[in-house]
């Protein structure tokens, strides 16, 4: 038996990588003063039918539940956000700056960078129409890459403007019923040969020349203000303006943006923009609030971390504190198991200031040769082994990577361990950044 196609089992090192991504996402969103919230994984299908656009609806994991409700595993978070904000906005100071880390589902062909499930960081600002909000959001998206060790050599943010497109659409008299279809063509522009593109555009009575002129104009009034704010923050090197970016989803209204690796080897790492009308539409006109947001998925990001040496090293440096233990208690005499268990419990109960947490401790569940126990200690990544045996009530404390050992009285054990851990933390400065 295997997992379903497009679904992942996270073995311990894959789970540590996932948790590393989550922890960094949470940390960067908090730096920006965003607070965390979460919605349900299952929602009424209706929520997506209304506004997300047809591509996403065709890819839903949807079904009828045992209570005859039409339900869907969520493909994206924005409609849930609009629903929750419409219901609860009165209880919160505006603008809302909210983020969320959760799992999303789409039934499509699994391929590189795209599975049937993935995790996303979603960050949204609700209740502010000023371009300052767009700048704050894009700055956060940039820092959500920098926090993994990526620099302007590795990624770029392409900023575009749906309202410029809307103007183009109105000037070229494109049928309002077919705007989504037109934007889908633009979204996938670089996949078509020129003659294919001409055929695609024919029904819209737009020539490729006219489209090229528009794309080259790069005349993005709104985005200029955003660019200026990003420059003040020292983030200009990460930014490009590019009308090619339109975003697939139907509900965007203003500035839109996508993050790409510099070599464009991968799909977009993240994307988002303004959706000023969605909350009004989903609340049936009861509440109207400007809003904007972006999402960053874990799959492309994970691939990029793995292919970027500095980012990979940063991740692996932090692994050991998730995957490894601090102390292995070697029971050299079975007669001392009772004493060992008391010490193990005391260690797990004990706060260690240099580690900012209690000790992580393991031991042999059944009698084993001492040599085998030391092998286990190293296999589990322990820093220190405590050997309990003939010398009791003294114990041997051994630093595993230097093989230095010392006989310590039971009374002095905790002080001694604390100074060992202080030294270990100073060696591994990164722990301070966990």
């Amino acid at each position: 038996m295997k997992a379903l196609p497009g679904f992942r089992d996270f073995l311990p090192d894959q789970c540590a990588a996932r948790n590393y991504i989550f922890a960094r996402w949470r940390e960067v969103a908090r730096r920006y003063g965003f607070v965390e919230w979460e919605g349900p994984i299952l929602e009424p299908t209706e929520l997506y039918k209304k506004k997300s656009g047809s591509e996403i609806v065709d890819q839903l994991f949807n079904f009828t539940d045992k209570g005859e409700r039409e339900v869907a595993m969520r493909p994206e978070l924005t409609p849930t956000l609009a629903r929750v904000v419409a219901a609860h906005e009165r209880g919160f100071r505006k603008p809302l700056k909210w983020f969320s880390i959760g799992q999303f589902f789409r039934y499509e062909k699994p391929q590189r960078g795209r599975l049937r499930e993935h995790f996303q960081l979603n960050c949204d600002i609700v209740g502010e129409e000023s371009l300052s909000a767009d700048a704050e959001l894009i700055a956060l998206a940039i820092d959500a890459m920098r926090i993994f060790g990526f620099t302007a050599n590795e990624f770029t943010v392409c900023i575009s403007d749906r309202s410029a497109w809307n103007q183009f659409i109105s000037e070229n008299n494109i049928d309002s019923e077919r705007v989504a279809e037109f934007l889908q063509i633009v979204d996938k522009l670089d996949r078509y040969r020129l003659d294919e593109l001409e055929t695609k555009l024919k029904p819209f009575r737009v020539s490729t020349a006219k489209l090229s002129d528009f794309l080259a104009s790069g005349n993005i009034e709104m985005a200029t203000g955003v660019g200026e704010e990003l420059r003040r923050r020292g983030l200009s090197t990460f930014v490009e303006f590019d009308l090619h970016v339109v975003r697939g989803l139907a509900y965007y209204t203003g500035v839109v943006f996508e993050l790409f690796d510099r070599q464009k080897k991968f799909r977009a790492i993240a994307g988002g923009g303004r959706y000023d009308n969605l909350i009004r539409q989903l609340s049936g006109g009861a509440i109207s609030m400007p809003a904007l947001g972006f999402a960053m998925g874990d799959v492309v990001l994970g691939d990029l971390i793995n292919e970027t040496p500095a980012a990979r090293l940063q991740m692996h440096n932090q692994f050991q504190w998730n995957l490894w233990i601090d102390i292995y208690v070697v029971i050299a005499k079975e007669e001392r198991r009772s004493d060992a268990l008391a010490i193990i419990q005391a260690l797990r109960d004990r706060f260690c200031p240099p580690l900012h947490r209690n000790y992580h401790v393991s031991y042999p569940l059944v009698a084993e040769k001492v040599g085998k126990q030391f092998q286990n200690a190293e296999g589990l990544g322990a820093r220190v082994a405590i050997l309990i045996g003939d010398e009791w009530p003294d114990v041997k404390v051994k630093i595993l990577h230097t093989r230095k050992e010392q006989l310590i009285g039971k009374q002095q054990l905790f002080d001694h361990l604390q100074s060992l851990m202080r030294a270990a933390v100073q060696e591994d400065q990164f722990i301070a950044r966990l």
Copy 2:
């Protein structure tokens, strides 16, 4: 539009409570040397049909996906663990000590302590048949309560033994086809009046007297060894032996246990036990490994935290570091917005040793009156406000809860903030335990 019945929206303070529970679960499992893994939320329905027992299968959120696969949103983790271990066990040192924090789904009537989704901590030990493993697992379950501030006044672990029941079943010639049904009756014993119980037991030819005698015997040989190990760890006050506990699921084989609040006001807080045959069954006989585990849900636990003053206080003390920001930058002169943005970016980029992380910073996205900005700063829970205005390049730094303020040169700002944060951390010792 609302969330589906039995599904929760997590607004920021509810999400902070959830994250607090997750963080404590993760920490206690790591103390015991368990490593984190995770499985998919959607699995082949087959995985549950085989072994979980009929009650759980009737409550599945199951459907046929777009590729004609029978799939189900997972109701529990153990079958996935057995699947993953059977596929990957060769890559890991035994015994495995694995934990997981994830969401699970059951279609049943939403009621107090039970929704249609909940989060669970799952902890499992695979590859060790000794009772030492049962003791280690139960000790972890106890500490998974102590870590929230609960004491022996608030909860108890009831330990029982499925193998004693199996002996009772065989001595009383209960039809092997109907064992699950019989155990379900025992599991819900205290819901029946005596005459109801007699009717229920009649088909099994077991008298209530015989059942009472067995329950009173409390003769749990295996559990005695477990009790002794827990005593050595100083955990006896948390433990009771009680054959009433059988656990609903069909696959348990040995020691089983449940955690209850002392007053038994709530459903079980956690439960688990040994399932030595499940991995063999799910691997079609290819691999045989003894295993045991428990799960603790977030719903009953959350209710109990809210009803226990010490536990609630501990949770709220830690909230502020998830919900609140550190610094609010007040822009007193719009002409200084550029300078403010540069400072904001620098603060967010700056590691603050006493906090063990970077600063969390917010500011007004558009021009606002200074008084309103200070209100916002307090509403967002900021410790410190930095006022940028006429005094530039000096700035005013104000500690919000004491209202003490000081004029500081831009150059000295970071040193000054760091010493303020050091004082704040010393005031709130709990941050060290986050």
